[in-house]
């Protein structure tokens, strides 16, 4: 197993540590394993679903399950998911295609003409509602200027820290963007103007390298810690959650 993917999963799981009793949803293998790891180690109050119709009392392993039966706890069909979203008791870690300096994310389409997309993707899904209702973090397996774009993302699918788009009666503090986790670093918005800043650098990565691969100016603090290496306990938990090693291909080399 690549050391990087395990390091990223462990680091990303820290995003949920102080959330308390909320529903955590990790979309994609790395966010899901990060959330699952948190539920089994740093925040055992987390709620999680089986991605179908139930809240489960323990995270469901990734990939083929063999005889494993989900440990259902509460029915949670899609209609009830929205009731939870609007209550605010949730953090989502999703994997958008683009993000901009305001933290606005895009999963809808690529291109400058909305009526004629260059590439049609999923559609905005639940991202607008997620972004204005509860905490959100994002994961990018490849940190580059195609993902971290100059200007705004092509279809703004989430509310971010963009003063121009701030709704009447809202302040930037009403938006709760947490972490942006990538193959190079972890970033957050913990700056006076909610600018994206480097929170920690993965081993061997420099701040200059991150800036070169980002289409906008990021805040580079004087002293940036190195993203901590996984502990033996964390690795053991991850191996149980991903017995088939599905995560091996989650970060392209």
């Amino acid at each position: 197993m690549s050391d990087l993917v395990d390091l990223v999963i462990c680091a990303a799981s820290e995003a949920f540590k102080d959330d308390g009793e909320v529903l955590v949803t990790g979309i994609g293998v790395v966010p899901r394993l990060a959330a699952s790891l948190a539920m089994l180690t740093s925040n055992t109050d987390i709620m999680m679903t089986d991605s179908e119709a139930y809240i489960v009392s323990e995270p469901v392993p990734v990939g083929p399950r063999g005889d494993y039966e989900i440990k259902a706890e509460t029915w949670m069909g899609f209609s009830r998911i929205f009731d939870n979203v609007w209550s605010g008791k949730r953090q989502l870690m999703g994997g958008p295609t683009q993000i901009d300096k305001y933290g606005q994310a895009n999963i809808s389409m690529i291109g400058s003409d909305y009526a004629n997309p260059k590439v049609q993707m999923l559609g905005v899904r639940g991202f607008p509602g997620n972004s204005i209702s509860h905490a959100n973090s994002y994961f990018f397996p490849q940190h580059n200027k195609k993902c971290f774009v100059e200007g705004e993302v092509d279809m703004v699918s989430t509310i971010g820290y963009n003063p121009e788009r701030l709704p009447k009666g809202y302040s930037l503090d009403d938006v709760d963007l947490r972490w942006v986790v990538t193959n190079l670093c972890i970033m957050d918005f913990e700056t006076p103007n909610k600018q994206m800043r480097i929170r920690s650098l993965h081993p061997g990565v420099t701040a200059e390298q991150v800036q070169e691969n980002t289409g906008f100016e990021i805040v580079i603090p004087d002293n940036i810690p190195e993203t901590p290496a996984p502990t033996a306990e964390q690795l053991e938990v991850i191996n149980k959650l991903d017995p088939h090693g599905v995560r091996a291909s989650a970060i392209p080399s």
Partner: protein, 293 residues
């Protein structure tokens, strides 16, 4: 009242230009036999409202869709629906792209008889950009100083739904793990046409445990058509799972020359019985493994 109809009867009740809601979610419990009947008809210019999967993709490929109201179109394990993608990238369809939860509110507003439901969803995003969605308005509130998105009612001329079982009076049961937003589609619609995997006797629901899985009153059901495996290639769990192999072939066809025409000739221009034979038969469908993610 006996509400039994054939697929042809149902499609005969639909008209060009109608707004049609389709139940299910992505690759799950879609009324696919009914969709194929529409593909065989000359119905056109539809406005389609759906949590979309291959139902939307096929209707787009066949040129049936004038406008699509959607939050996503996806086969889940194949994230991008190939024919929806083609339709969008060639500018062939008009769209109203909204958040999944906004669709909930739009359907509820229609069911409640309200013109809109206020929500904060969409604020700060391009969903409320007039260039993207000119029909979605942002309004002031009579109760606070914030602005709110006025999610318009999604009034449907017809809802098309697939259920596990129904009786001829229109009592419909969804026994699977999730009824999705099907009850909301039904209540938003002027008429609701249901296909069912099993047609049961009236007394079936006298067991209260069975009656708990009925999500709308029979007065909301206009017509019922018994189509065993009528959701295939989508799932109707626990009766059967979705057909990964079939979806892979369907998805690959979009990249082949005359791929859609070939798919139609093979799987659409035939009876439901012939279709079931072509996809491996009833026993094979029952044995489809449940995909895990």
């Amino acid at each position: 009242m006996n509400k039994e109809m054939t697929l042809t009867d149902i499609v005969g009740q639909l008209e060009d230009g109608m707004t049609i809601g389709i139940g299910g979610w992505g690759p799950r419990r879609k009324p696919m036999a009914l969709i194929r009947e529409i593909l065989r008809s000359d119905l056109k210019d539809l406005t389609v409202v759906a949590y979309g999967g291959a139902d939307v993709g096929m209707l787009c490929a066949a040129g049936k869709v004038k406008k699509l109201i959607f939050a996503f179109v996806s086969l889940d394990f194949i994230p991008l629906e190939p024919y929806f993608r083609k339709a969008r990238q060639s500018g062939a369809i008009e769209v109203m792209e909204i958040d999944e939860g906004m669709m909930v509110l739009g359907l509820k507003a229609a069911g409640y008889g309200c013109p809109f439901i206020p929500t904060k969803i969409g604020l700060g995003t391009d969903v409320i950009n007039p260039d993207v969605n000119p029909d979605i308005k942002v309004i002031d509130s009579p109760y606070d100083d914030k602005e709110w998105v006025a999610m318009p009612a999604l009034n449907l001329d017809a809802a098309l739904i697939h259920v596990d079982r129904a009786n001829s009076r229109g009592v419909c049961q969804i026994k699977g793990p999730d009824h999705y937003m099907d009850d909301l589609f039904v209540r938003a619609a002027n008429k609701t046409y249901v296909t069912c995997d099993e047609l049961v006797e009236d007394g079936y629901f006298s067991d209260q445990e069975e009656a708990r899985y009925v999500f709308w009153e029979r007065a909301q059901t206009t017509g019922v058509c018994h189509v065993a495996y009528g959701a295939h290639p989508t799932s109707c769990w626990p009766l059967y799972s979705f057909d990964v192999k079939h979806f892979k072939g369907y998805s690959a066809s979009a990249k082949e020359e005359n791929g859609w025409e070939n798919y139609v000739n093979e799987f659409v221009n035939c009876s439901q019985d012939e279709y079931l034979e072509k996809v491996g038969g009833a026993e094979a469908i029952k044995q489809l493994p449940k995909p895990t993610f």
